[in-house]
C-alpha cells in the first residue's frame, strides 16, 4: 500500500479552503489519513436554523457531512494506490439520521470512513459530534459514484460491482 500523506494534506487543505461553500462555512480540516477524514464547522449566528434554540441548521451539518465523506473517499483512493488526479466523483445518495440537536455555540466535527471502494462506487459512513464520536449528533450512510477514469490497481480496491 502506498500512501502519500503529503498529497493528502494538500487535498485536505484544498477541500477546506479551496471550495467556495466550504470556505463560506469556515470548514476546516481536522485530520486525513488512510483510515478516514475529519473536518469541522464552527457555530455562527448566521447559520442558525432554529432561532428558538440557537441550533445550527441541519443543512450546515449536511454540507459538512457530504464534504468530509467526499474527502474520505479521496483518502481511500490514495491509500489503495490510486491517483486522486484521475477521477471525478458525484454523491449518489446521502442518508442522515439526526440523533439529537447540535449544541448551540459549539463547533461540530464530522468523521468519515470509506469502508468499501469498488471501481465505480465508494461506500462511506460518517458521524457528526462535538466532543465524542460515541455521542453523535447525526450519522450518515452515503454512496459516491466515480465519474471519470480512475487508475487503480485491482487488488487493494476489490471487485467491481
Amino acid at each position: 500500500m502506498t500512501f502519500d500523506a503529503q498529497a493528502l494534506a494538500m487535498i485536505g487543505a484544498r477541500m477546506a479552503e479551496g471550495t467556495p461553500q466550504a470556505a463560506a462555512l469556515n470548514i476546516r480540516l481536522v485530520s486525513a489519513d488512510a483510515t478516514g477524514a475529519a473536518m469541522a464547522v464552527p457555530w455562527r449566528e448566521d447559520l442558525v436554523g432554529d432561532p428558538q434554540t440557537g441550533v445550527m441548521a441541519g443543512g450546515v451539518i449536511t454540507t459538512l457531512l457530504d464534504h468530509v465523506c467526499g474527502l474520505s473517499v479521496t483518502c481511500a483512493v490514495i491509500a489503495s494506490g490510486g491517483s486522486f488526479m484521475e477521477y471525478g466523483m458525484a454523491t449518489l445518495d446521502l442518508r442522515i439520521d439526526y440523533m439529537r440537536p447540535a449544541q448551540p455555540q459549539r463547533e461540530v466535527i464530522a468523521m468519515a470512513r470509506c469502508y468499501k471502494l469498488t471501481r465505480s462506487i465508494a461506500f462511506v459512513r460518517a458521524t457528526a459530534y462535538e466532543d465524542d464520536e460515541a455521542d453523535p449528533i447525526a450519522t450518515v450512510q452515503a454512496a459516491f459514484a466515480f465519474t471519470g477514469p480512475r487508475a487503480t490497481p485491482g487488488a487493494a480496491v476489490g471487485a467491481d460491482q
Partner: protein, 145 residues
C-alpha cells in the same frame, strides 16, 4: 412559532426568523395552496469550481429547508419541527443557475410528518435532486410547560 394565520404570513414569519435562509439566499412563495422554494445561484454555494456545480450539501440543505417551509405553510406550528432523518438522492449536477423546489407532505401523524421534496432547474420533469424525510412535530401536551 407564530400566531400568523394565513399561509403567506406563516411562510414570511419563518423566512424572516431563520438566519440560515439568508446565508443560502433562499426564498419561497405561496400561490394558492402550492409553495415553491427558490434558490438563486450565488458563487458561495459552489462545491465544484470546475463544472461549476452547487455543493451537494447545499442542495440537501435547500431540500430540507423546503420541507420545513412546507410544514410551516400547512398549519400553524408552536415550534419548528425537528428533522429525524433525510434521504437525499442526487440525480443531476446542480448547475450554476436558479434552482426550484416543491415539497409534498405525504403524511402527518400525531408526532411525525413524512415529506417528499424535489428540486429542479430548467425543467421540473428533470429533477436535480430529491429528498424523503421524517420530521418530529411538537406535541402540545409535552410543550405546554
Amino acid at each position: 412559532m407564530t400566531e400568523a394565520t394565513t399561509r403567506e404570513e406563516r411562510l414570511a414569519a419563518m423566512l424572516a426568523a431563520v438566519p440560515y435562509f439568508k446565508f443560502l439566499g433562499m426564498t419561497a412563495h405561496v400561490a394558492g395552496d402550492e409553495m415553491t422554494a427558490v434558490l438563486p445561484f450565488a458563487p458561495h454555494l459552489v462545491g465544484n469550481v470546475l463544472i461549476p456545480a452547487l455543493h451537494g450539501g447545499v442542495i440537501g440543505a435547500f431540500l430540507e429547508m423546503t420541507a420545513l417551509c412546507q410544514l410551516a405553510v400547512r398549519e400553524p406550528l408552536r415550534r419548528q419541527p425537528k428533522t429525524i432523518d433525510v434521504t437525499i438522492e442526487y440525480l443531476r449536477p446542480g448547475r450554476a443557475q436558479m434552482t426550484y423546489a416543491r415539497a409534498d407532505v405525504r403524511k402527518v401523524g400525531r408526532r411525525i410528518a413524512n415529506v417528499h421534496v424535489e428540486a429542479w432547474q430548467d425543467h421540473r420533469a428533470s429533477p436535480v435532486a430529491a429528498l424523503r424525510g421524517h420530521f418530529l412535530l411538537s406535541v402540545p401536551e409535552v410543550d405546554a410547560s
